[in-house]
């Protein structure tokens, strides 16, 4: 089973990486590669763009109710991601070790924010979702959160065994799977999420920084401050 899951992990990772490379190659076939952004990026545009990304500032100005949920969701996801790095790093850097308490909080905040976003969008704002992909992604996230919480608080997982397995994954040494069904479930959902990671995670930071660059250019073009 360890071998199957390990292969599954490598396959999912390849699917994710190759998908992006294939997309880039397809674009290069359509149109010649140009640097991005197309003009020289100023430091101020980069920094303001970075703040926009970290604070989701535009969403805050447009929809503060949804912003609360989205910001908590993205921040929790980042904290949980950093917290999970302790399973693939040995020795664990101090900064990652220090994420343990924040990650515990984030583990609760993440599903709570997902629930909040769902309620706000579907019931309060009545925004129609268009594809089953959206629901699949949100559902998988929720299942992943709940299984993680169950592993932590109800079905005590064999953490040493899990770390042995995950370290084996990143060092290309296949080891046997810890005998915890809930971990197997949690890990499979993670693989599904890895394969279906939305492209905006990588493209959106570029558009947000580029938007700041455009604003700077327009300001230069205008006639007064």
């Amino acid at each position: 089973m360890g071998l199957v899951l390990s292969l599954g992990f490598y396959a999912a990772f390849l699917f994710f990486v190759v998908g992006y490379i294939a997309r880039m190659l397809a674009w290069a076939r359509y149109t010649p590669l140009r640097p991005f952004p197309e003009k020289t990026l100023s430091l101020s545009a980069f920094l303001s763009g970075l703040v926009d990304i970290l604070l989701l500032r535009r969403l805050l100005s447009v929809n503060d109710v949804l912003w609360l949920g989205e910001w908590v969701f993205h921040a929790s996801l980042l904290v949980l991601f950093l917290g999970h790095l302790r399973y693939v790093l040995d020795p664990v850097p101090a900064i990652i070790a220090a994420m343990e308490i924040p990650a515990r909080v984030a583990a609760w905040l993440l599903p709570a924010s997902l629930f909040y976003i769902g309620v706000m969008k579907i019931i309060v704002e009545k925004k129609p979702y268009v594809s089953s992909y959206n629901f699949m992604l949100l559902g998988a996230m929720m299942v992943s959160c709940v299984s993680g919480l169950l592993m932590k608080y109800s079905f005590r997982a064999d953490l040493a065994g899990i770390k042995h397995f995950t370290i084996g994954l990143v060092t290309f040494h296949v080891v046997s799977l810890p005998g915890t069904l809930i971990f197997l479930f949690h890990f499979v959902v993670f693989l599904l999420l890895l394969m279906s990671l939305p492209t905006h995670m990588f493209a959106a930071p570029l558009t947000m920084i580029e938007a700041r660059q455009r604003e700077d250019e327009l300001r230069d073009l205008m006639h007064e401050e």
């Binding site: 991005f36 493209a203 558009t207």
Partner: protein, 420 residues
């Protein structure tokens, strides 16, 4: 769904830039755009809002669309005034309106033309150098008629006779549309009141050709270069434009092609400057409660929000009440992007919705600094039989400075001159 082999997806994708290909991937499908989109508000179909269009574009680039979906995509692409509201509310700041314009041009290059009405309109611009399909000799006639009717302090001179420091660019609508010529006359009168030395190109004034870009004509860049060359040959340094669409064209679209060539100011920027310098004396009271409509091309696209409001607040007796949606969130009246030609019914509903928002404020009039918005909003009042008055910002200034050049006087004088 089977892919339509007749849809040249490769060619469409090839018409987009790398930045735009990345932008297509950036959509998080959050749906914020459909909450704000004024066209979607009137026709709530996914293909109309940005999220839907981005989804279709993503699939076009990736694998192509089925025939029926392709039709829906085209419909959505042209049932859009390219107002830029979706760009403003997009949490990821996708530059949507430029993407739609580029996608339209990419489709045309790939052999998929615009709707028939847009093609005819663009052909008129190419053939007559104005969007009204009238002889260019008629373009500057408003100036002579206004002088003869005593509406101006002095005759407006042609650039070739008097190359003044400032060129006033009236645009096609204020030059040819009899219902909108008051805008040109009042602009000229206000410049005269401030003692500005200006002239006009008259029959040599070209169409700004910005509609070519808005409607996806791939020939826009060449046409823009011709116009910039004309301005350069004439030695023009400063252009004051009274039309928001022409302003976007001359100021922003041309800047992409030939940056920093000529200073282009919108009339509101220039008048605001004149008022603050004390050159325009707002002597009379205008006891009115008005609300202000931000034209998309002036506000969202060029960040001119403050100047028109400063002008209005400088007028004694006039009070400004903002609409629920104003500034960057101002609802589009539907007159941009060729929407009125492609889907006149949707445009009418959009302008009517805007009038309803204006009525909510309790103001007696809605004021705008764009002659195209003026037309659109007037249609909105007619559509819902609203008693709300629609005025160009010039009218408010004229009432304070020189009421004899009010819109009613101009329209009457012009009608008398033509024996109407």
């Amino acid at each position: 769904m089977a892919k339509d082999k007749a849809v040249p997806t490769d060619k469409i994708a090839a018409g987009l830039t790398w930045r735009q290909l990345v932008e297509i991937e950036a959509c998080a499908r959050c749906g914020e755009c459909l909450v704000w989109c004024p066209a979607y508000a009137q026709d709530p179909r996914e293909s109309i809002c940005s999220r839907g269009k981005l989804g279709y574009l993503k699939r076009i680039v990736k694998s192509g669309l089925g025939g029926e979906e392709h039709k829906e995509f085209l419909e959505g692409l042209y049932e859009c005034s390219a107002c830029g509201q979706c760009h403003i509310v997009c949490p990821l700041r996708i530059n949507t309106h430029e993407l739609w314009e580029q996608a339209r041009a990419a489709l045309v290059k790939a052999g998929i033309p615009q709707p028939e009405a847009l093609i005819k309109h663009l052909a008129a611009i190419r053939e007559f150098n104005n969007s009204y399909g009238k002889p260019q000799t008629e373009r500057g006639l408003w100036a002579g008629k206004a002088w003869q009717a005593g509406l101006l302090k002095e005759p407006v001179r042609l650039w070739k006779e008097h190359p003044a420091p400032v060129l006033y660019f009236a645009g096609c609508t204020a030059s040819f549309d009899s219902a909108m010529q008051a805008v040109a006359v009042q602009s000229a009168r206000l410049l005269q009141e401030a003692g500005t030395d200006f002239s006009i190109l008259g029959p040599d004034e070209p169409c700004c050709a910005s509609k070519l870009r808005r409607m996806g004509d791939p020939g826009f860049a060449d046409e823009a270069r011709k116009r910039v060359d004309l301005f350069r040959e004439q030695g023009i340094r400063t252009i004051v434009v009274s039309c928001a669409g022409c302003f976007k064209g001359l100021h922003s679209d041309y800047a992409d092609i030939l940056p920093g060539t000529i200073e282009v100011l919108h009339l509101t920027e220039y008048l605001d400057r004149l008022i603050r310098e004390g050159r325009l004396n707002l002597r009379g009271r205008v006891p009115m409660q008005v609300t202000y409509h931000d034209p998309c091309h002036l506000g969202r696209h060029n960040q001119i929000y403050l100047e028109p409001r400063r002008i209005l607040s400088a007028i004694q007796g006039l009070s400004l009440i903002e609409m629920r949606r104003h500034g960057p969130f101002s609802s589009c009246c539907g007159m941009g992007g060729g929407l009125k030609l492609a889907k006149p019914d949707i445009q009418k509903k959009m302008s009517a919705a805007r009038i309803c928002q204006a009525e909510e404020t309790g103001a007696e009039a809605i004021v705008t600094p764009c002659q195209t918005c003026l037309m659109g909003l007037t249609m909105g009042t007619e559509a819902i039989s609203s008693g709300l008055k629609v005025y160009h910002i010039n009218e408010m200034l004229v009432r304070s400075i020189c009421p004899e050049a009010g819109r009613e006087h101009i329209e009457k004088a012009f009608a008398d001159a033509e024996g109407r």
